[in-house]
């Protein structure tokens, strides 16, 4: 009965053929009869009261559909964690890209001119743009104190340790905003029918987030709002929450005009107005023993949430929980807060707070190593978490992870020791300085703490009348491989062929809510549920007498056909139940933060050119333990892609802000890595397995975003002996730092004379 295994093999991507032939249907490829095009009029100041809106007489406004906040039938908000973000600003604006009015017209060429022809007069209010200004509370722009959320994680008696510590190591680290830069811009189409209700089609990650937001905005019941995901051209978290806003706008225009309306952002609008990675600031104060053991730490982690709460509390939570990394802290106090500024809200981006706090930690570990007089490898080895020990939230490590072994393998693969020695020699000459850097880290898969229990995800598997199976989930494909991996899991679970299984297009009218496609949860959590649902189909078929215990794929298909012919639809649904060993105390922020962690050691090799001050990453080793690898090609693709984004985060991608507005919202001046910029990224896996994931899988999507930045900046310090604690680190930053110090003279004795 058992066929060749499917899990663990690189079957063709489920929707791959359509992608390579250009036949995939993205939202902008869809046209509905009579469709109008929509555009958004946005605020142009960071904070103020709207005094007057004027429509320039040069435009025939009768041709346009115009939507204002008065046209909103339900509550004027984009429902998410809190309802604080308006769908259309009404009377007051809190950031310089805030939507105020919506326009629609059959000729999309006329829209930019019309948007320009709407002028808004304001009574400006003082605005704040930095975390420090927000903390100083010179202006209160949100709630009572500008704080969206704060957490306190405490373990042991931190205060008792400082007096007897051999070393106290303190430093501050910052990371900048980062644009997701999916190549397909955001877009939505909406249509409204007074009887049937509202339908939207779009580029999005979370159909049920959009569904929830539209229900509240329109005051419609669940069955009169339908959300359909089109093929989605990259997301990386950037299509987690903002699509609800665009869907809401298209839907309001559709309802008012009685026609379908399409809104597609151009690149500049997408970059300026939609979410980016939260800027962060982390302060570490660490008590360390002579032998390098960490005794205690205080970690202050602060993120800039922008003008509205959106997802900041959850980003903050993940960042705070990951702030202690893969190390054992006998005692630790982590204070975390998300603060408000007058910038567009920051949001989800691969890693979700963890790349920020782990950048700080992994730079800090190198600093501790220097203070103690140990190598970067040794300081990590002496502090790695071991099975049986507890994390900062008190979660016991109950898998057989051996981080020292992982480190050894990474050191060997990267030839770290020999390179380090060689570079130290060679760096005494010339203007090209080379270095190597390590980052060790972990990433929790799935929603944090009790999150999965609250989600209570439901999945279904359906037997079709042709005998094939169809997976019913709201989990979306946007390049990561959701479709392929879930179909592999079902085929494997039932000993079918990969081609016997298909997956339904995510459509809230067709599929149950399997939760959002975020948090590296799809393969692990949803995959496990899909596996059980598939088994449910088999059980029904065998119980009905239509299928023997042992069967071939053909016999299984025949049984499905026979069952459907006789009884009608055969569907098996399964809902998530939290395993007993996952216990979380939301009050104290203690317990099992994640059902599983993936573990990794990354090593970067760089060259810093002291003529141009540019940094090249020459080699990159990415070694990780991710449970069972379900699809080697897809898994490798996830890691390489994440590392590439991490290299961008460290060295290229700088959002230039002025008065809360992004100034470089174009691909010409916001620079992401090209194929010519990246090193060979060498990917290696360890497979320990995971009882909570389908066939032992863990989540992997976000993991590779966490390690590259600290590994690279550590390598730069190895090359230059200058610590850099802020990213992105651009050539001008290196130039400035070296020019300000005597370091350049030491690095290149004749450097100053050269110029």
């Amino acid at each position: 009965m058992k066929n060749t295994p499917i899990v663990g093999t690189s079957v063709p991507r489920m929707e791959g053929r359509d992608k390579v032939t250009g036949h995939s249907r993205y939202v902008d490829d869809m046209v509905l009869p009579g469709m109008l095009y929509g555009a958004t009029v946005r605020s142009r100041i960071p904070r103020g009261k709207i005094r007057k809106i004027t429509f320039a007489p040069a435009i025939d406004w009768n041709e346009f559909v115009i939507v204002s906040p008065r046209d909103i039938p339900g509550k004027n908000c984009i429902a998410l964690i809190e309802d604080d973000q308006p769908c259309l600003a009404d009377g007051i604006v809190n950031h310089p890209e805030e939507p105020l009015l919506l326009l629609a017209h059959p000729d999309r060429h006329l829209l930019p001119k019309a948007v320009e022809a709407v002028s808004i007069e304001y009574d400006p209010l003082p605005a704040i743009f930095t975390m420090e200004e927000s903390e100083a509370q010179s202006q209160i722009i949100w709630g009572a104190d500008n704080i969206f959320k704060s957490y306190l994680i405490e373990k042991g008696d931190v205060d008792a340790v400082w007096q007897n510590a051999d070393h106290i190591v303190e430093a501050e680290y910052t990371t900048g905003a980062q644009e997701q830069l999916y190549i397909e811009n955001n877009g939505m189409i909406a249509s409204f029918d007074p009887q049937q209700g509202l339908t939207v089609w779009g580029s999005l990650q979370c159909p049920y987030y959009v569904h929830k937001a539209l229900m509240k905005l329109f005051g419609l019941p669940a069955d009169r709002v339908r959300v359909v995901q089109m093929e989605t051209g990259g997301a990386f978290g950037g299509k987690e929450e903002y699509p609800s806003m665009i869907a809401a706008h298209a839907a309001l225009l559709a309802m008012k005009s009685g026609k379908p309306v399409k809104i597609i952002y151009d690149r500049m609008e997408d970059m300026a107005a939609t979410t980016k990675r939260h800027p962060s600031r982390t302060r570490h104060r660490t008590a360390v023993a002579k032998d390098g053991r960490i005794l205690a730490g205080e970690i202050d982690f602060t993120i800039d949430g922008g003008a509205y709460k959106t997802l900041s509390p959850v980003v903050l939570s993940r960042g705070a929980i990951h702030a202690g990394g893969p190390y054992y802290w006998p005692s630790v106090r982590i204070r975390a807060k998300a603060v408000a500024t007058n910038a567009p809200p920051h949001g989800a981006f691969r890693g979700f707070g963890a790349p920020q706090s782990l950048f700080a930690l992994e730079r800090h570990m190198d600093r501790i190593a220097q203070v103690v007089g140990l190598s970067p490898a040794e300081i990590r080895r002496r502090n790695f978490l071991k099975p049986g020990q507890t994390t900062t939230t008190g979660q016991t490590v109950n898998e057989a992870i051996d981080l020292s072994k992982l480190l050894d393998r990474a050191l060997e693969l990267s030839e770290y020791d020999s390179k380090k020695n060689k570079f130290a020699q060679e760096n005494q000459q010339g203007r090209r300085k080379k270095g190597v850097g390590i980052a060790a880290f972990l990433h929790g898969a799935g929603f944090t703490g009790a999150g999965e229990r609250f989600l209570g995800s439901v999945v279904g598997v359906e037997a079709c009348d042709d005998g094939s199976l169809r997976i019913l989930v709201s989990s979306t494909e946007f390049g990561q491989g959701t479709n392929t991996a879930l179909c592999q899991i079902v085929a494997e679970a039932l000993s079918l062929r990969y081609e016997d299984v298909a997956i339904a297009q995510p459509d809230t009218q067709e599929v149950p809510n399997s939760g959002p496609t975020v948090a590296s949860r799809t393969v692990m959590v949803v995959g496990k549920l899909v596996q059980s649902a598939a088994v449910g189909i088999r059980k029904t078929l065998t119980a009905s007498g239509m299928l023997e215990e042992s069967y071939s794929p053909e016999e299984f298909r025949a049984a499905c056909r026979a069952y459907v012919a006789e009884h009608g639809k055969l569907r098996s649904f399964v809902q998530y139940e939290q395993p007993d060993d996952i216990v979380w105390d939301e009050e104290k922020y203690r317990g099992s933060a994640y059902a599983a962690f993936a573990w990794a050691v990354y090593i970067a090799e760089v060259t810093v050119d002291l003529t141009t001050y540019s940094v090249a990453v020459d080699d990159f080793v990415a070694l990780q333990e991710i449970g069972k690898v379900l699809h080697p090609v897809l898994a490798k693709g996830q890691i390489i892609g994440g590392v590439a984004q991490g290299i961008g985060f460290a060295l290229y991608e700088k959002v230039v802000w002025e008065q809360g507005r992004m100034q470089n919202g174009q691909m010409t001046n916001y620079i992401m890595p090209t194929s010519a910029d990246l090193p060979p990224i060498r990917v290696y896996f360890e497979e320990l397995g995971n009882i909570h994931g389908a066939f032992g899988a863990k989540g992997i999507g976000e993991l590779p975003m966490d390690g590259p930045a600290p590994a690279i900046i550590n390598a730069i310090e190895d090359a230059l002996h200058v610590p850099f604690n802020s990213i992105p680190l651009l050539p001008e930053d290196i130039f400035a730092a070296l020019s300000e110090s005597a370091v350049l003279e030491a690095l290149v004795p004749s450097a100053r004379g050269d110029r």
Binding site: G16, G22, G481, L634, G641, A644, Q645
Partner: protein, 165 residues
């Protein structure tokens, strides 16, 4: 702004797309990208940035690789254009399409049509490129998902199979 004069400004332009003669009525400065997508329904050509930076809208004009968002349709008059839809023949994938599928060269798929055409163009000039030449040759096409390595592998694999002859 005078819409009627813009209307009058439309003209008839003929060119070949994927071997088929097409005649469109369009503004002379309309982008080739929009004509392909909106007039001819060839939506395989994608818009990523609208300013010639990302390469998602890459097509071949008379054998040259261009960003169709930067080409006024007038310039396409009489030209032979190849889009992603013109690459597979009789439902059979071109070598590059097959190798992209197998090597993981397509993730979200939005850069894929442009990337495959850029690769096709590269291999037509240089049938056996080195990995370095592939990396250089594709550096005008941005991909945010893959980190490019599996794309480079796919192109190398297609070259090995003799993708463009």
């Amino acid at each position: 702004m005078n819409e009627s004069s813009e209307q009058r400004a439309k003209c008839e332009i003929s060119f070949t797309v994927n071997g088929k003669l097409q005649t469109v009525h369009a503004y002379p400065m309309e982008r080739l990208l929009d004509v392909l997508r909106h007039e001819l329904g060839l939506t395989g050509t994608k818009e990523g940035c609208g300013e010639g930076e990302c390469g998602s809208c890459s097509v071949l004009i008379d054998g040259l690789l261009v960003n169709s968002c930067l080409i006024p349709i007038l310039q396409a008059s009489g030209a032979k254009i190849v889009t992603i839809e013109g690459l597979a023949t009789d439902g059979r994938l071109q070598f590059l399409q097959q190798s992209f599928l197998e090597c993981g060269g397509a993730q979200c798929g939005i850069c894929t049509p442009g990337m495959i055409l850029a690769a096709y163009h590269l291999l037509s000039k240089k049938p056996q490129p080195t990995l370095e030449e592939i990396r250089e040759g594709l550096s005008g096409n941005l991909c945010r998902c893959t980190g490019y390595m599996q794309i480079v592998e796919a192109v190398a694999e297609a070259a090995r199979l003799g993708a463009v002859r």
